[in-house]
């Protein structure tokens, strides 16, 4: 009741819905712009929102014959099967561990490289390092994984090197205990240079006067880095950290399914690779959708939470 009164007070047009009317007026005014937007909105509706709607098959027993609407509802059955199944803890643990290792080893690596590059005075050398370290970012995942497989094989270079130091040869990609190490370190190798771009940009944004002031106070290069450089790029670090945390459950499954094999599932199988296997190899559409939906929901929650936390702690946030 009170709500209605309020509306009547604030909108002069009375009980017509002002928002819908406004939209119509706007469409009339910017006809051509809306026509141009139409294919774009159609694209998002069909390829992003329709799949969100299609995700309801997670609560149904999808049969291709009956379609999404016609299939029978089963409620949370698929979720229960997943939560109580043998693979629940394994996939969750692997997902979290791989993300966690990427966070503690992969995330700081470009920050450190950017700080080191920032100390290089010779600009040609600096540019060369950058050009070379960006390069692997552009090489396809298939090729990268092919190289990784080749280099880590029993007769591969890494084993040659280790044998030279007297260590025993091992076939890394066939041993579960090495999978995460190989996955995370090859990821660092591929993306470390690319990751520095944004930090180097943030570094150029720092006011040179701050360095001068620090020098006046007798700060050496180490102190300058500690008290000027690092605080200067902190907001950038925090934003990227939020994004990274929000992607926690989105371990790059393309790379996983290129590198893993049944022998390493134990440490390599993550939620998204499991979704792929159950859904598209075993054609268990509904169950797989339930697992995928669970994954999306956890992801979204993590992102919202880390964004909220960061806004609380230091006023930096995505939205």
């Amino acid at each position: 009741m009170t709500v209605m009164n309020q509306e009547a007070l604030t909108s002069p047009i009375g009980n017509k819905k002002p928002r819908a009317l406004g939209l119509l007026l706007d469409i009339r005014k910017n006809k051509l712009l809306y026509v141009m937007l139409l294919p774009v909105l159609l694209y998002y509706t069909v390829f992003h929102y329709a799949p969100m709607y299609g995700a309801i098959i997670a609560f149904k027993d999808y049969s291709p014959r009956l379609g999404i609407l016609g299939s029978d509802w089963v409620g949370f059955e698929h979720f229960e099967t997943f939560f109580t199944g043998a693979y629940f803890w394994r996939t969750i643990k692997n997902t979290i561990l791989i993300s966690f290792y990427e966070l503690i080893f992969g995330f700081p690596a470009p920050v450190i490289l950017a700080l080191l590059l920032n100390e290089v005075k010779h600009s040609l050398f600096k540019r060369t390092v950058q050009t070379v370290t960006y390069m692997p970012h552009f090489i396809s995942l298939v090729v990268i994984c092919g190289i990784v497989k080749d280099f880590t094989s029993r007769e591969g270079i890494i084993n040659d090197l280790m044998a030279w130091f007297g260590a025993e040869r091992s076939t890394f990609l066939l041993e579960p205990e090495f999978f995460r190490t190989v996955y995370v370190s090859s990821g660092i190798w591929q993306h470390i240079g690319w990751g520095t771009i944004i930090y180097l940009a943030a570094l150029t944004g720092i006011d040179p006067e701050q360095y001068e002031a620090a020098r006046m106070d007798g700060a050496g290069r180490w102190k300058q880095m500690l008290h000027v450089t690092i605080p200067g790029i902190m907001p950038t670090i925090v934003i990227l950290l939020i994004l990274e945390t929000g992607r926690m459950m989105n371990v790059g499954f393309e790379k996983i399914i290129l590198l893993y094999n049944p022998g390493t599932y134990e440490t390599a199988d993550v939620v998204s690779s499991y979704v792929y296997r159950v859904g598209l190899q075993d054609f268990n559409y509904s169950f797989s959708s339930a697992v995928g939906l669970f994954n999306s929901a956890v992801n979204f929650t993590l992102l919202v939470f880390s964004n909220w936390l960061s806004r609380k702690l230091n006023d930096t946030s995505l939205w």
């Binding site: 774009v40 069909v46 799949p51 190798w189 859904g279 995928g292």
Partner: protein, 292 residues
């Protein structure tokens, strides 16, 4: 000031050394692949350790790569997806970026929210798969093009670039009777060459490198893009089917170098455009980094 102290000089030396080492680690695997592809298969098989020059120079692997119909077909399919895909990408992304960068569009904020939300939440792999199949794109190369027409991140990037163009240009064009389509294609796009270069690079690289959607949407092998064929050769060890016309024992030998030659053939196009676009992609990464 400014005369480096001893400890500073030590740090500089160590830093230079470390960065050089890092460059070596980054580039050596690529150099190794090049050298191995040019080597004699027998000698390479017997060799252990670091390569510094090709072992008994041989172009045999390359000639058998180019003699292979699957590779050539894969090349053709990939080129098709990249070229046609880029047209779709540029058209749709610039239409969206332009409309959403117009301040006269009153509802651009909620529309933007509608779009950006898809970056943070998705229906998941299976519903996406069923949708693409449902609209009849499965088992056509269009499945690799139309569902990837817009990348939201790139859309934001392009929108940001369009917003930086002075409004006065648009206003004067409007005075001369230009409509929005004319403004976009005659004024905004010609002024946005750097961001277009970034788009070409980002979209182009992702089309060139993609393999997963080809794996799930294509059944017909004659449609396979290059990366999917690479996957068979590099990761599933099916290289032996590649060496057409070689005898069994030669074949086993040849597969060793064939892998590397195929990598080179599939990577060179990217590495060729890389230096030309390098100055743009740093710019692109930066605009993209600004929160959307």
């Amino acid at each position: 000031m400014n005369r480096p102290t001893f400890s500073e000089r030590c740090f500089d030396a160590a830093n230079t050394l470390f960065l050089t080492f890092l460059m070596l680690i980054t580039i050596y695997p690529l150099i190794y692949v090049v050298l191995a592809s040019l080597s004699n298969a027998n000698q390479l098989m017997a060799f252990n350790g670091f390569l510094w020059k090709p072992l008994g120079f041989s172009l045999e692997a390359y000639s058998s790569v180019f003699a292979n119909p699957m590779i050539l077909k894969g090349y053709g399919n990939t080129f098709f997806v990249v070229l046609v895909g880029l047209c779709f990408n540029l058209l749709l992304t610039s239409l969206g970026a332009y409309s959403l960068s117009r301040k006269s569009l009153k509802y651009r904020k909620p529309i933007m929210l509608f779009i950006v939300f898809t970056m943070f939440f998705s229906g998941g792999l299976i519903p996406f798969y069923l949708t693409v199949k449902g609209v009849g794109l499965a088992n056509t190369l269009w499945a690799l093009i139309i569902p990837h027409a817009i990348n939201t991140f790139n859309l934001i990037l392009m929108k940001t670039a369009f917003e930086a163009i002075p409004d006065a240009l648009e206003e004067s064009a409007k005075m001369d009777g230009a409509n929005d389509l004319v403004i976009l294609f005659r004024i905004i796009l010609p002024l946005s060459l750097p961001v277009i270069a970034v788009m070409l690079l980002y979209y182009g690289v992702s089309h060139w490198n993609s393999w997963f959607h080809a794996l799930i949407f294509l059944q017909d092998r004659s449609m396979y893009p290059l990366q999917l064929i690479l996957r068979e050769i590099l990761l599933q060890g099916e290289a032996s089917t590649m060496a057409v016309g070689a005898s069994d024992s030669d074949m086993a030998m040849l597969t060793v170098t064939l892998k590397y030659a195929t990598i080179i053939v599939a990577t060179v196009p990217i590495l060729l455009v890389y230096p030309f676009l390098q100055k743009y992609f740093v710019k692109g990464a930066l605009i993209g980094a600004i929160k959307g």
